[in-house]
Every structure is written in structure tokens, then in C-alpha cells.
């Protein structure tokens, strides 16, 4: 089966990007150097083609109520033009996906989901809508999505003229017209830095991509994106989150609003005793990788690394790991086994670095 291509595929090839299949798409893994791409986003600006991600549009009088019902976080009380991050759970509380819901209006909600889960999410969400006065459209193929991330992005987008509003807080959204094009711009991202995600037509994305590059915004691939999200400890579906765990296993209790009147998974999650604890670990030497064993100080196997990499900012190996709750050591001494050698890990209560977003 041939992979899908985003509207920017030719641009990636022109830039000599290292391409790799991801979630059924041919996606750019890196353009120049992963280190340089990460540093660009942390200190200046970078742009990611994330057009592979899925977009569903919910419209109608019950749009907000419906989205509030299918996700675990509180959407009903979110202000207009706000973005809300949330898991999407089954009745038994396990995670189908994590998503961002954008409240465009009281009767219009845009949901952005992981590319690898588009079909699974669509089948689930569209099967739950019949009792609500709203409709849902899968617009995943209609939108290109560019994530423009880094401390200089706000200035650059204002220079281009695409952003005018001064008061445009983090995790909010606006719909705007620019050069005859309808854009949805969200101040969200997956890097921990200030940044914007721009939903547009395919043709606009192509010209806008070139414009951004001409202004010194660095093209960045999925490899840099993974380092960036891991440095600030954002979970990734298929790693920290999967079909077998609930949000309460993966450090996402803050996204489960049990005080909400009703939502899918509520009755299961109210009584749920977490099986896992998500921990943040780093190494002075060596790089923890997904699947490596995590041991306690008596060398008992207590869990597995779910994501690991070399942090560009700290220069250390960093990881998140799911630890079996009843084996989680009180002394917080963790050991990571790498190729049959045990390495003592540092335990972190906060993310490895603090992003610059406001």
C-alpha cells in the first residue's frame, strides 16, 4: 500500500528531508540535523508539517455538549475560542486517543486527533452522536496543518500579517481571513514553546511554508518534534498512552473531571485504582530507549521505558516510564537496564526542561 502524502511532500523532497512512513503518511523525519532543529525551536522558530493529523468538525446546537460527553476533560465550561486537551476514553476508562478540542463557537467544535488513530477515533466518536443535536464531519483530508513553534513565532506571524490580535493567549484559537484565505489559528503545540498551529487549505500551506522558510523559520521534522515533546514530558499516544491504560495510569488525572455530570468512562474511572505510575527519569550516562526494563534498587523488574531519547537541551538521556503502581519504590531509586548493564537513574518530579509558552 502506498503511503499518503501531505500537500508539502514535494517541498520536503526538495529540502532533502529524510522521509519515513508514519501513520500511513510519508513524513519528514529530519531536514538538517535533529539537534539544530530542536535548538531552533527552543531559541528562535521552527515549522513542522503536521498535516497528517486528523480534524473532525462537530456542528449543531449540541456540539459542545457532545464533545464534553465524549472526552474526560471539562469542555462545557471552557470559554469560547479556547482549546482543551483531553483523553478520549472507552466506557471502561481505557484511552482511545488524546486530542485537542477547539471551541470555535457554542455550536462549532474542531477536534484535532492523532494521525495514527483517525479511523479508530472516527468510528468511535461518530457512533456516539445519535442522541445529540449535532453532526460530525471528517475533514482530515481537507486541511493542511503547520505547527509554527518557538519564541520568535509570534513576532514573525505578526510581521507576515497573519496575526493581528495582541491578546491571543496560549491554548486559544481564532478564525481569521488572510489574503482571501480562511484560516484557523490555534496558539497550541507539542514542543512546550510558544507557538501556533495553522489549519488551512493545501494551497495556502504550500505558499505559507515557503514564506516562513524565507523569513528564517527552520523546517523541522518528526524526530525533533519527538525530542521537544519528551523534554517537556508531553505524552505520546502509542507510548505513554495506549488502548490498555487509563488516563489515571499515565499522569493525566488533571484531565479527568470526575465532577462532570456525565461522560464516557466516568463510572469506570471513579472507582479505578491505577495499575501504573508514569515517572520521569534521566541518566548521567547512556540513553534510555522505549522498551528498556526499569528496576528498583533490589533489581526487581518494576516497569518499562515508554519513550526515551537524548535531550538536546540538557545533553542527558531522558525518559518516561510506566511503573507498576504496587511495585513503585518509595525511595524513588530507579535503575534502567541498557544492554545488560544497570544504570542508576535520576528521578524527576518536574519536566526535564520548562518550555517558554505563556
Amino acid at each position: 500500500m502506498t503511503n499518503q502524502k501531505t500537500s508539502l511532500y514535494e517541498e520536503h523532497v526538495l529540502l532533502n528531508a529524510k522521509m519515513a512512513p508514519f501513520a500511513g503518511f510519508d513524513m519528514p523525519l529530519q531536514y538538517s540535523s535533529v539537534k539544530e532543529e530542536v535548538q531552533a525551536v527552543r531559541t528562535h522558530s521552527g515549522v513542522f508539517d503536521v498535516s497528517h493529523m486528523g480534524e473532525f468538525l462537530v456542528e449543531g446546537a449540541d456540539a459542545v455538549n457532545f464533545v464534553d460527553f465524549i472526552i474526560t476533560n471539562d469542555f462545557k465550561n471552557a470559554e469560547n475560542l479556547k482549546a482543551v486537551y483531553s483523553p478520549l476514553c472507552r466506557d471502561n476508562g481505557t484511552v482511545i486517543d488524546d486530542l485537542i478540542a477547539y471551541k470555535l463557537a457554542e455550536d462549532r467544535v474542531l477536534i484535532c486527533v492523532n494521525a495514527s488513530n483517525i479511523k479508530k477515533d472516527w468510528d468511535w466518536i461518530s457512533s456516539k452522536i445519535s442522541n445529540f443535536k449535532c453532526t460530525i464531519k471528517n475533514q482530515s483530508d481537507d486541511y493542511s496543518l503547520l505547527a509554527v513553534q518557538g519564541p520568535e513565532c509570534n513576532k514573525i506571524l505578526q510581521e507576515i500579517g497573519v496575526l493581528k490580535a495582541i491578546d491571543f493567549p496560549y491554548y486559544s484559537i481564532l478564525e481569521t481571513n488572510f489574503e482571501g484565505e480562511k484560516l484557523i489559528i490555534a496558539r497550541t503545540g507539542y514542543t512546550g514553546e510558544d507557538g501556533f498551529e495553522i489549519f488551512s487549505s493545501h494551497s495556502f500551506a504550500k505558499s505559507f511554508w515557503k514564506k516562513l522558510l524565507s523569513l528564517g523559520v527552520k523546517p523541522c521534522g518528526l524526530a525533533a518534534r519527538d525530542v521537544l515533546r519528551l523534554e517537556v514530558c508531553y505524552p505520546l499516544y502509542g507510548h505513554e498512552l495506549n488502548d490498555e491504560v487509563t488516563p489515571l495510569d499515565a499522569g493525566l488525572a488533571w484531565t479527568v473531571k470526575l465532577s462532570k455530570e456525565a461522560f464516557i468512562g466516568k463510572s469506570a474511572l471513579i472507582d479505578y485504582k491505577p495499575r501504573f505510575q508514569l515517572v520521569k527519569l534521566s541518566l548521567e550516562r547512556g540513553i534510555p530507549r522505549e522498551g528498556y526494563d526499569v528496576l528498583d534498587s533490589n533489581h526487581n523488574l518494576i516497569g518499562k521505558i515508554t519513550s526515551g531519547t537524548m535531550s538536546v537541551v540538557t545533553g542527558k538521556g531522558i525518559a518516561m516510564a510506566l511503573i507498576e503502581k504496587d511495585k513503585n519504590p518509595k525511595d524513588k531509586k530507579y535503575i534502567i537496564n541498557i544492554r545488560s548493564t544497570n544504570y542508576e537513574a535520576n528521578f524527576h518530579t518536574k519536566s526535564f526542561i520548562t518550555g517558554g509558552h505563556k
Binding site: Q30, S33, A223, I287, M310
Partner: protein, 129 residues
């Protein structure tokens, strides 16, 4: 993309180079290897005194995204290790044939190097990839 393949070295299909110095060889990874791996951020090498068989894994080189085994082109005993690479793994990208040499091995069979690829053999091999 054209890769640097010095003609005075011998090569393997695992993208290691060897430089023969009498009964000892110096071993490292090729320009092609470092370019394919991208930013190299970690190198793990054996202890001095370790005996290796040809094709045996002797260490690991890691980029941000990947972990790759290093395979010994020859059989012998590790007599020297470039321990500086621990703190400067990026040398593997910058100077794959000089500063980023990895180990020196005293050959147990000096004939073994004859079966390694010449620079033009390796060049031909790369063109098939």
C-alpha cells in the same frame, strides 16, 4: 550524495573502516555511516583486553533516534580505545576517519584483512544501496 572513502583504508558492508598498521588495525565508522545516522550523541566502546571475533558486536553508536551495533571487521584483542568519544560523540560526525577512530585491535590472524573491501569495492557496494 557523494561520501568520502579514503583509498588507504579497508571497509566492511557494516560500514566500518579499518586501517592496517602492521599486526594492528584501527577501526571506526565510515562517512556514509555517520551521515546516515545523523547527529551521533552516544558511543559505547569495549574495555581494553577484550577479545573479538570478526563480525562480533564490539560497541554501540547512538544518534538521537537510533541505536546501532558496531561490528568488528577482524578477530583479535582490543589494545586501545578512543575513550575521548564518550565526551565528544559528535566527533563521529565531524571526523569519522581521524578524530573519531574507535578501537585498535591486535590481529589474531593477519591474513584476515585481505578479505576486507577496498575503497572501490565499498564505493560499488554503496551504489547498490
Amino acid at each position: 550524495m557523494a561520501h568520502n572513502i579514503p583509498t588507504d583504508l579497508k571497509y566492511t558492508k557494516d560500514h566500518e573502516w579499518t586501517k592496517v598498521e602492521g599486526d594492528t588495525v584501527v577501526i571506526g565508522i565510515t562517512d556514509f555511516a555517520q551521515s546516515a545516522l545523523g547527529d551521533i550523541v552516544f558511543v559505547e566502546l569495549p574495555e581494553i583486553g577484550k577479545t573479538l571475533n570478526s563480525h562480533q558486536a564490539f560497541g554501540v553508536v547512538e544518534s538521537i533516534k537510533s541505536v546501532s551495533d558496531l561490528y568488528s571487521p577482524v578477530s583479535g584483542t582490543v589494545v586501545e580505545v578512543n575513550s575521548g568519544l564518550q565526551n565528544t560523540p559528535e566527533l563521529c560526525n565531524a571526523e569519522p576517519y581521524s578524530g573519531a577512530w574507535m578501537i585498535k585491535v591486535k590481529l589474531s590472524n593477519t591474513q584476515e584483512v585481505n578479505s576486507l573491501l577496498s575503497a572501490s569495492d565499498y564505493q560499488n557496494f554503496l551504489s547498490t544501496l
